[in-house]
Amino acid sequence: MTHPETSGLQARASWILCLLLPLILAACGKPEGMPSVDLDHAYSPQQGGTLIDAMTGEPSGLIPMIAGESAASAIAGYIFNSLIKYDAKLELEAELAKSWDISRDQKTITFHLKPGLKWADGVPLTSADALFTWKLVTDEHTRTPYGADYKLVLKAETPDPLTFRVSYSQPYAPALDSWAGLQILPKHLLQGQDINTTAFARKPVGSHYYQLEDWRNGERISLVRNPLASQGQAHIDRIVERIIPDSASQFLELLADNIDSMVLNPIQYARIFPSRPELGKKIALYRELGNGYTYLGFNLKHKPFDDKRVRLAINYAIDKQEIIDGVLLGLGEPVAAPYKPGTRWVNPKLKPYGYDPEKARQLLKEAGFEDHDGDGILDRDGKPLAFEILTNQNKQREMSAVLIQRRLQEIGIDAHIRVLEWASFVGRFIKTGDFDVIVLGWSLSQDPDQFGIWHSSQTKPGQFNIIGYQNPKVDKLLEQGRLELNPNKRMKIYHEFSRLLLEDSPVVYLYAGYGLPAIHKRVKGIPNPAPPAGIGYNSHEWYIPEPLRRNEMATQ
């Protein structure tokens, strides 16, 4: 009846146009063409180039003592340095201080600064800056959560511009570790400022290899080489940290050669890369041990977890190798002590509990748990052995919980999983002690002191002995460990501590996972295999040979 051709044509034209719109835009894209270069050739170290890295979060500020989140410490680590630092083997070595002495009574540490140090703005760096930083971190007004270690210092002095001396009331073994973690701030720029609100947090001036060049909120942070760096010159001229919250997007950017490095998950590392040989040609995979471990913790104040037999039974019922194989695809290690594998603090005589469901059943029977009513679930005094496993929104912990739940089910324990968002988890359940079993992880410092986590005095809300562990022998060892500065004697103390912990089994150690960085082959100088400190410890020595650099125009 009608002839809609003319109107139809118009309509169809605009329809086709909006479908083509994205393609038109796409066609205006720049043609990529990587000249064929030999990525595996052994180039010699040289200056220059830009490294593009990806971060999932954004720092809230760049003053290390105020902004504690990992994104902030990662960037601040490029800009500031401390008096001493850890080397490849995780031993302490010189940084801003060229040497340090410990007094005979072990209560005083004297740091001798390197002469001729300068801040990035040219002003000399002296012991006055160290004193200023210490005063800042111990000031009541400063909103830092990390002041506790530094408040133990009785007296801090600067007898001359190159000497910084601190005295404690009694020997404090973790002291050196705390000084390795305190990044020195410039007195001349921060004096008189309110450290909590100063603009310095967005425009920092440091003394390390890089300085802040530009910070585009939510998009990227670029760092440029600091010519006045205290430790010498880094090879790579510029580092750009792109903020890409989603790891699936990060992976795509890595594939498209828009970023040079990212941290992979086990599937990407062990399944995707091997299935695509062309990826392996341009991207190198590394493996390093992380600084923590994942565990299943019991609330020792709740029955029946106060019964050691029940805890041991659950320990035997969980197949930890299965968790490592399933969750980490084998990219992790079992642990028997709360320390990073390969360090001297790990007691080599300790072995993790194996997978032994029979033994588990037997132990539970001794504790009075049997299936009296034939419903498949163990019970005691008419009450079934059932509880909730709480964890936060972390994929690996969730998967571990699923595996644990199944193994527990097999021996007759009825466990349910509850995944919670972090703030609720901590606020509603951890702080109040209102939980039965949790799957969590600890991220550890290099110092073996674990007072905060295991000492019986640390069980108040907000403190970290969240499972409520109380063992006077362990308490004594922890206190002793803080006073003993001799590394060998300390080692013995913490070996015994680990042994007692394993015997008591207040937690079930699940695994220590590997970090899995993937870095483009254009970045040379990366140690492989990774030393105990990880591959990043010498990132200032990495270099990008000129033929392999990105088109400099595109990355300026």
């Binding site: 599937i267 995707i272 399933g326 999983i417």
Partner: protein, 276 residues
């Protein structure tokens, strides 16, 4: 009703939904594996003769999980939208019928609810309660009744002035009779349509919640959480995204087709023989 069912859109919609419903109902009979059966030696296998839709990150059979997951998605859809529709019809009818300050109060309540983002409400409530499937349904229901309220209210406002209603009033009919015998039956079309479309929406909301980690608890399977699991390895383990994605697509498509088909068929204004 005949017209409704002879509409091809509605027919297709019905066919799709019926098939999914059947699969969901008979899941225990059809599923070749236990959906929770973990096998760490069979992680992320691609679809094959044994595992028709491949396996997931813990070696569980995706096809079985999809079947059981369909129950979750459909259940959430129905119950959540059922709650929302019930609330919406009641409030909308009262507002449209009584008008005056009752109407004002109810519409302002709608305004308040619309001003608070759904996600925020859901997060706060779920953080407070357990993120269980029932709480999710209740929360989705409690946050999506506003559209239905407006629809019913608008229908009632128009119908209120029509002759047959005025006639009934003159004849002395009580309020309740007016509402239930005269107004509601004539307003049902938008209710039915919005119910059907709402189910589609609820399925999408559930998958969005799973994406944000606020969905059903592990190890329970839902299409949303299978889909989310596959996000990191989309180019590699394509089956983890493709099958739940297609399932959600088909379900939502089915409900939308049915809804639009019903709307087309039942709405007197769009039929060729317009009553004017």
């Amino acid at each position: 009703m005949n017209r409704a069912l002879s509409n091809p859109l509605a027919q297709w919609g019905c066919a799709i939904i019926a098939s999914i419903l059947l699969l969901a109902m008979f899941a225990p009979l059809i599923a070749p594996f236990d959906p929770d059966a973990i096998n760490v030696k069979a992680i992320l296998l691609s679809p094959s003769g044994t595992h028709w839709m491949g396996t997931d990150g813990l070696g569980r059979d995706v096809f079985s999980r999809m079947l059981y997951g369909s129950r979750i998605s459909l259940l959430v859809g129905f119950v959540a939208v059922g709650i929302a529709t019930a609330i919406g019809v009641i409030l909308g009818a009262v507002a449209g019928f009584y008008r005056g300050w009752v109407d004002i109060v109810i519409m302002r309540l709608v305004d308040v609810m619309l001003s608070i983002p759904t996600f925020f409400l859901i997060l706060a409530v779920i953080a407070f309660l357990t993120p269980s499937i029932w709480n999710i349904m209740i929360v989705i229901g409690l946050t999506s009744w506003m559209g239905v309220t407006r629809l019913i209210r608008a229908e009632f406002l128009s119908l209120r002035e029509r002759e047959f209603v005025l006639a009934a009033e003159v004849l002395g009919a009580q309020d309740a009779r007016l509402i239930f015998r005269h107004l509601l039956p004539n307003s049902l079309t938008p209710v039915i349509v919005s119910f059907v479309l709402g189910v589609a929406s609820a399925v999408l909301v559930e998958s969005g919640l799973s994406f944000l980690g606020l969905g059903v608890q592990p190890p329970q399977a839902s299409w949303g959480n299978i889909l989310t699991d596959g996000k990191e390895y989309i180019q590699f383990a394509w089956w983890l995204s493709f099958f739940p994605g297609m399932a959600i697509l088909l379900t939502v498509l089915g409900y939308n087709l049915l809804g639009e088909g019903l709307r087309d068929a039942l709405d007197p204004r769009t039929t060729k023989q317009a009553k004017g």
